[in-house]
Amino acid sequence: MARRDGIARGALIASCTPVLAFLLLPSLVIVPMALTKGQMLQFPPIWISTHAFTDYLGDPDWFASTVLSFKIAALAVAIGGLTGAAAALALHGKRFPGKGLVVGAIMAPIVVPLVVLALGGYLVFAWLHMVGGWIAIGLLHGTLVTPYVFISVQTSLVAALNPLLVRSARSLGAGRLAVLRHVIWPAILPGVAAGAVLGFAVSFDEVVIALFLQGPQTVTLPVRMFTAIQFELTPKVAASASLFLALSVVVLLTQAAAMRRRSA
């Protein structure tokens, strides 16, 4: 019996490893590529140097793009956090005809193809003379962040907000604002945080909208990487991509921490 179990386990590992490797390799290859000595992005890399990282951070254009991407993501999270959390609160526990349509509209930015969103945004912002400004990209990214925050806040409302808590608070003298601050906010805080972190990552590496709405002063980091890979093939691309990888690890860790706290 034990031997057959061992064989079965061996077969399982043997079949899973290539699949996992296939899934992870494209991500993991980035870091060694960034550590190359060479001046070109090439595989296999010539080890080992950190000059790609110092070049990346020392180049004013690349640095400006990085700051810009952070700025845009921050604005997008602020907007998406507010709208997503507000929408989840407004719809929580309510039943009315057409609720499905409202939820559909909130979720639309995830479902609608990005090019459609980007083109539509381009046309509207062109009319408003806002194309080429970082605010336009941040606003449109905000619509992209909204559904992520909406879903995670909705989840924490269902999981952590006992309706009796609201009733209790009101009977103890809390008006609507006090209920929001003392009862609802603590309950949805983990949801808001998880949605915000995820939304930040979504905005930070979004490339289609950023490409459509870019201007001479507003080239986001992913857009700069995209252009660089076409024209200069510098290892700075791999260095900046490592930054993305680090960010997504942070996202995964926060989510895991949130899950553990919820189940605890």
Binding site: L164, L165, R167, S168, S171, G173, G175, H182
Partner: protein, 377 residues
């Protein structure tokens, strides 16, 4: 904090703060057109009184409580506190302490902050509210747990924190919605006593909702038995138990025999009832329409109010029957006797009961005060 000082001051406080009068006046409530969950309910909670709304689920007791608390609006009728109509006020401006079955403590706050919360809502200074909350925790015996989170407490402790939180702001009345429903039997009994003691100490009026008749009997000054959205009967525990007015009240509160008969010669307060093969006196409720001569009636007679009679014993009413079943239950013996054309259940502690065999002829007797003519609804 000085414990003796608080305890010593207590009786004075109790007389000083006697609670308020809460009136529910002809209140109706409907969620779907055509069906009323609360129908024409009226009662008055006297200052310092413990009044229980008792009924099965769906009888309208919780809906009534929620209307008093302000979470539901009555379709018709008035809710008054000391004569002032509060029906239009939101719950946060009604000044009632409400305790729910699930305790509903704020999980992210310490026990102390939970109890201080209503004072914080009243914008009372941090030092004052801390002192008042500690004092109230002292009264429910949980001052040592002030710094803990609610989750670290047992169910019974959480319920006492919920009570302290509902009492700390000196509410006009305490509204308790099945507060002990989630606890096991032993803990429930301990908390029943404790709630009564806390009430005596604080002197607050309590409106209590439960479906547990023993709990209602044990705790209440008066019980309003609710059935299908109406108050079927309102009275002291012994009134509703010993003199039930409707078949529902008679059978919801403990076990009873419902004897079928015909009313003969009704008088003020009493009537003769003709049963199959016997006559007997029975009581008519005051305040209810008197049955007419010749009306078919049902009479409620509690098993423990029926006596086994010896050959020379007398009673207001006596009948002879045949024993069909006997079960010894320790504290008492349960007999089933075929008499008056039906099965009559008798619960007796008499030693005589042990020597009876099934098939024996027995004499049963009862006082006319214990036979209650029911008002058919």
């Amino acid at each position: 904090m000085n414990i003796t000082a608080i305890v010593a001051r207590d009786p004075a406080q109790a007389t000083q703060r006697r609670g308020h009068r809460v009136e529910v006046d002809q209140v109706w409530k409907s969620y779907t057109p055509g069906t009323h969950v609360v129908r024409d309910v009226s009662f008055s909670l006297a200052p310092g009184e413990f009044l229980t709304l008792l009924g099965p689920s769906g009888s309208g007791k919780t809906s009534t409580l929620m209307m008093v608390a302000g979470f539901e609006d009555p379709d018709r009728g008035a809710i008054r506190v000391d004569g002032r109509d509060v029906a239009g006020l939101p719950p946060e401006r009604r000044n009632f302490g409400v305790v729910f079955q699930g305790y509903a403590l704020f999980p992210h706050m310490s026990v102390l902050d939970n109890v201080a919360f209503p004072l914080r809502m009243k914008r009372i200074g941090a030092a004052t509210r801390r002192r008042a909350a500690l004092e109230m925790l002292e009264k429910v015996g949980l001052a040592d747990f002030a710094a803990r989170r609610p989750r670290a407490l047992s169910g019974g402790q959480q319920q006492r924190v919920a009570l302290a939180r509902a009492l700390v702001f000196e509410p006009d009345a305490l509204l308790l919605d099945e507060p002990l429903g989630a606890l096991d039997r032993q803990l429930r009994e301990a908390l029943q006593i404790e709630i009564k003691q806390i009430q005596r100490r604080v002197g607050v009026s309590i409106l209590f909702v439960t479906h547990d008749q023993d709990e209602a009997m044990m705790m209440s000054d008066r019980i309003a038995v609710m059935d299908q959205g109406q108050i079927a009967q309102l009275g002291t525990p012994d009134q509703v138990y010993l003199h039930p007015e409707t078949p529902f009240v008679a059978s919801f509160l403990g076990e009873t025999n419902l004897l079928r008969g015909v009313c003969v010669a009704p008088e003020e307060g009493y009537a003769t009832v003709r049963f199959a093969g016997a006559h007997g006196w029975a009581r008519i409720s005051r305040g209810r329409a008197r049955p007419n001569d010749g009306d078919a009636v049902r009479v409620s007679l509690r098993p423990e109010r029926i006596a086994l009679l010896g050959a020379n014993d007398h009673a207001d009413c006596a009948v002879t029957g045949v024993l069909t079943d006997r079960v010894f239950l320790g504290r008492h013996t349960r007999l089933v006797v075929q008499a008056l054309g039906q099965s009559v259940v008798v619960s007796t502690a008499a030693l005589l009961a042990g020597s009876l065999d099934v098939g024996a002829s027995v004499r049963l007797g009862w006082s006319r005060e214990d036979a209650q003519i029911l008002h058919e609804t």
